[in-house]
Amino acid sequence: MSWTGRLQCTASFRNGRTVILDSYNEGALKLMRPVYLDPAHPTLYLVHVGGGYVDGDRYEINMKLEPHARLMMTTQAATKVYKTPHAPVWQYTQFSLGDESVLEYFPDPLIAYEQARFIQETVVYITNRSTFMYGEIITPGWAESGQLFRYDWIRSKLKVYQDEVLVLFDHLYLDSRQHLTSMLQLGGYTHVGSFVALSPFITKEVLEQFNQFMEEMPQEVRCGFSAAAVPGFSVRILAYETSVIEAIFQRVQQFIRQQCGEKAPVCWRKY
């Protein structure tokens, strides 16, 4: 099988800090040199060296966190999917989290342009002692006609296995040709945000605090959140713009970091 871009690496915890080992990449996907925003744990920036994803592209990302490793990962810019006349773009991502490892993954928004078809499958293996945080934003790209939702469809699957059992499966399918504007779907909104946090630190008491924490929500969004089957929760947001969702994500991420004993706020220092 040929790949447009491929990336893999292992994060290992040694002498009190997380280091990146066995980093490997080919094609259009690259990792920038790890940045230590936190002196002990790296932040990784994923880079797409082309202008965006086009017809038939295939990408694979494979990351392993050894026990106690901790890292944050984001992208350098939004993921843009352009039209795919012959074959959809396909992206497969796998994360394996060892005991007491922490992964915070917040890619920039996915922007799907006119006639784009995109499939992504993200599979995450956690243990009952690892912490996983993931926020994703899907937005419609600008179209020449000025109309929204000119992409064909986007399929996004997130599967989380805890000790070999599938504990969370978020399957989004946004098809511009099928009742996307119904109130059961986007109901007039344009942007979809999904946030998942699974962690042994998210106890029943923390969930109760989280309920109160989420009471203050901007008027211009529709937002739901609920406890997962294992310690943790998911949040779903509908909005009109990316920045509103990003602001909520940051607040939620901050809330969880405080529960995990990390006081420092996150600043991705991108722009």
Binding site: V160, Q185, S226
Partner: protein, 225 residues
């Protein structure tokens, strides 16, 4: 279909069949609370999309896959399907509600139809999805796959309509008219389900999912989900 099969299916799809489904709105109550569903017209629109999304891609497709796995006698496949169906419920109330309905349906069907194929799953997993129980009954009474799926779709819609009659509220006649109105949609859904790829299982209706999550915090509630 034999007379006996017809009678079995009539009993199973009766809105008084005590599966407990009548206590759950699966997120619709949030729309009623927000007055986005407030009369026959607004409910009808939502119900059609519900059939085309949730019922087709999750419940209906799950019932078809379960039927096929029972035919193939694949306990492993059924276990995996059951696990997947619960993992797909991001809203806690919907997950719990589905578990309760599944359990009651299983207990009833075990007595009534002597369905015992699922005992192993229930014992190891402590929960069983109603779509799987329904498929097992369909197999037991030797109803065809399509008939089983269509009956399941009808049963689900009938519960939603009965709940709307109580919740919105609507007139009983309006409710019955809606059940006639949805017929072509249900038949169409049954055909779509036959051709779906298993990879399409569980595509969420995003807004409905948010409504299911928000239901937990509604100040006034008639339904458990």
């Amino acid at each position: 279909m034999t007379d006996q099969q017809l009678l079995w299916l009539l009993q199973l799809s009766d809105s008084n069949f005590p599966s407990g489904a009548f206590s759950h709105s699966f997120g619709f109550e949030t729309y009623m609370y927000n007055e986005q569903i407030c009369d026959a017209k607004t409910f009808r629109e939502a119900l059609v999309v519900y059939i085309q999304t949730q019922l087709t891609y999750t419940d209906g497709l799950a019932c078809r896959i379960a039927y096929e796995q029972l035919e193939a006698n694949s306990m492993e496949g059924l276990q995996r399907l059951n696990e997947t169906l619960f993992a797909l419920c991001l809203a806690k109330e919907t997950r719990e509600g589905t578990r309760m309905i599944g359990e009651r349906l299983w207990k009833l069907c075990r007595h009534i139809y002597s369905v015992d194929e699922l005992d192993e799953i229930v014992q190891t997993k402590q929960s069983i999805h109603p779509a799987i129980v329904f498929a097992a009954v369909g197999r037991k009474i030797e109803a065809s796959k399509r008939t089983t799926v269509l009956t399941y779709l009808f049963t689900a819609v009938q519960t939603m309509v009965q709940n709307a009659v109580r919740g919105i509220p609507l007139g009983q006649t309006d409710g019955q008219k809606l059940l006639v109105m949805v017929q072509p949609y249900l038949i169409h859904a049954a055909s779509i389900i036959e051709a779906l790829d298993e990879e399409e299982l569980g595509t969420a209706a995003v807004g409905l999912e948010i409504a299911q999550m928000q239901h937990e915090r509604l100040p006034v509630r008639l339904f458990m989900s």
